[in-house]
Chain length 110, copies 2
DNA sequence: GTCTAATACATAATTCACTTATGTATTGAT
DNA sequence: ATCAATACATAAGTGAATTATGTATTAGAC
């Protein structure tokens, strides 16, 4: 697990990106997907995940659909048109930041 | 310039790394060096830089030497033994985080 | 047949590393 | 002379996280 401090500012971008690639997903599913993609290094806590999803929805970047699986609630999130556009920009910005950081740290990335 | 939000959690590591590579440096010099290494994309504000240096010093990771250049004050910072050791760890952690992020974003880094 | 872990959502209080704003003072360039 | 650059510093405010709770269902272990 990484120092969680590092996650700051990257969570929204991660959420947008994962939803861009996988379409409709629910919160818990997203957390599992991120865990998988990161090889167990990025563990999204609920306290970070749900407020972040709610914020993205409030900002009009995500839309939701609530389903009942038996008696269990599932809330599916997907990108709006605006969200899709922003997802692209945010990912580009983060990739650029990563490249900048590796320049500053003077490390080669495989 | 990047979204400054992304810098959070990475600043101390940057400072430790730059000081590890360049030895004795003063604050303003560090900000210029980071600006140069990042091709003008990382602009350290004083409000972030100085408190961060002070914190590292208070934590025993940096030691200081104040010099007068004519009438102008310069405060040189350098790593302590503890600081040198932590610099290594922090850089490794950040590099690892960067790799994790690129996995999650599924991007190839040159 | 009960207990634990996993599934699935949610929110409130708190933290703390930043941003933004401000302050002081020297030096070099035009 | 005036402006930009040099060089330090700190205080107030922000906001995205952490930490701590809470509710409830379902599957598996024993």
């Amino acid at each position: 697990m990484h120092s969680p401090e590092l996650l700051k500012g990257t969570l929204q971008t991660i959420l947008l990106k994962v939803l861009k690639d996988h379409g409709k997903m629910y919160g818990y599913e997203i957390s599992l997907r991120v865990k998988e993609l990161s090889e167990n290094k990025l563990l999204l806590t609920e306290g970070a995940l749900y407020p972040s999803l709610h914020r993205l929805e409030a900002d009009g970047l995500l839309k939701t659909e609530t389903m009942m699986m038996g008696k269990r609630v599932r809330k599916y999130y997907s990108l709006t048109t605006t969200g899709r556009s922003l997802a692209k920009d945010r990912v580009e910005e983060l990739v650029d930041f990563i490249k900048t950081m590796s320049n500053v740290l003077q490390v080669k990335l495989a």
